[in-house]
């Protein structure tokens, strides 16, 4: 079965995020006063084959820990969806 997986990786709360800060600064200097907050994160879209949702989730969990997220400073979240089930 094929699964569509969406992983989001973002900075942990309280960790300095210079990139989002710089973007926020640019938005201010562009004069968009209506923008109150901005934060940036990474998203990964994967297609994974597997026999079960559980098996794929295990793979994703490992991938996040080993590769996609730097768990020292980042958190990750993911959603796994059977693409054939629809």
């Amino acid at each position: 079965m094929k699964f569509n997986v969406e992983v989001t990786v973002e900075f942990k709360k309280g960790i300095l995020d210079p990139q989002s800060q710089a973007i926020a600064g640019a938005i201010v200097s562009l004069g968009y006063e209506s923008v109150k907050e901005i934060s940036m994160s990474k998203r990964f879209n994967l297609v994974i084959v597997g026999d079960s949702q559980g098996e794929v989730e295990k793979t994703v969990e490992e991938l996040c820990k080993k590769l996609l997220a730097n768990t020292v400073i980042e958190n990750y979240q993911y959603a796994v969806e059977n693409s054939e089930g629809k």
Binding site: P18, Q19, A22, I23, G25, A26, L30
Partner: protein, 224 residues
């Protein structure tokens, strides 16, 4: 002839550009990003560095600096503008040059002295160089991988807009080994290599002088 070097927050080759220009005996004004006065300069240099930290994309935030509105106007009226490294990235982001500069294929910053070949000698920036001549010019960048779609590339070639190409090794994966291009009109140059770093023998090359001398020669010929 008078050069102007724009100082963005995070520029770090602004002083090197000034040093090269003044060492070669030309005059130089520093242009602060928050100002809107171009101080009557004849050629504007957008220097290398990490303007606004290169956050989001290299050069992405600089187009909104107050001075840039004037720089764009100046360029559109035919004024000479050179973007070196981060300056090249800014010129593509602000739309004065086509294409974009992606991350190096190695995903790593790369510093070296790179041989580059002169492709077009009909420009103010290259008029005293020879076609096919190879210059040794330092490179130092993490996002120098020039990309343009095939339509755009055709147009670049048709208009003879490719100015420099890497000779031998392509250090970043850029399309057609492109190291520098001009706009259609030929007055705005963007290049990843740093000619301002090749102006004294002990620095490893003096080939950068040839580029500065071309510009001042062209200026002299056209404004005498």
């Amino acid at each position: 002839m008078k050069f102007g070097v724009v100082v963005f927050p995070g520029s770090n080759c602004d002083k090197d550009a000034e040093y090269a220009i003044t060492t070669l005996g030309y005059s130089c004004e520093m242009l602060w990003h928050k100002d809107t006065d171009l101080k009557d300069v004849d050629c504007i240099i957008l220097p290398g560095g990490f303007s606004y930290g290169d956050y989001l994309r290299a050069g992405a935030i600089s187009p909104f600096a107050p001075i840039m509105e004037k720089v764009v106007e100046f360029a559109q009226k035919g004024g000479l503008v050179i973007g070196i490294c981060n300056g090249f990235q800014i010129l593509t982001e602000v739309g004065l040059l086509p294409g974009v500069l992606n991350k190096n294929v190695s995903l790593k910053f790369h510093c070296d002295i790179a041989p580059i070949e002169v492709v077009n000698t009909s420009l103010p920036f290259t008029c005293s160089l020879e076609e096919g001549e190879v210059l040794d010019i330092p490179i130092a960048h993490g996002e120098g991988n020039y990309y343009i779609d095939s339509e755009g590339l055709k147009e670049l070639k048709a208009n003879n807009q490719i100015v420099f190409s890497y000779h031998g090794v392509n250090p970043n994966g850029s399309v057609e080994n492109i190291a520098g291009i001009v706009n259609k009109e030929g007055n705005v140059l963007g290049m990843m290599p740093h000619p301002e770093r090749a102006v004294e023998n002990f620095l490893g090359s003096v080939d950068g002088i040839k580029i500065f001398n071309s510009i001042t020669k062209w200026w002299g010929d056209n404004n005498a």
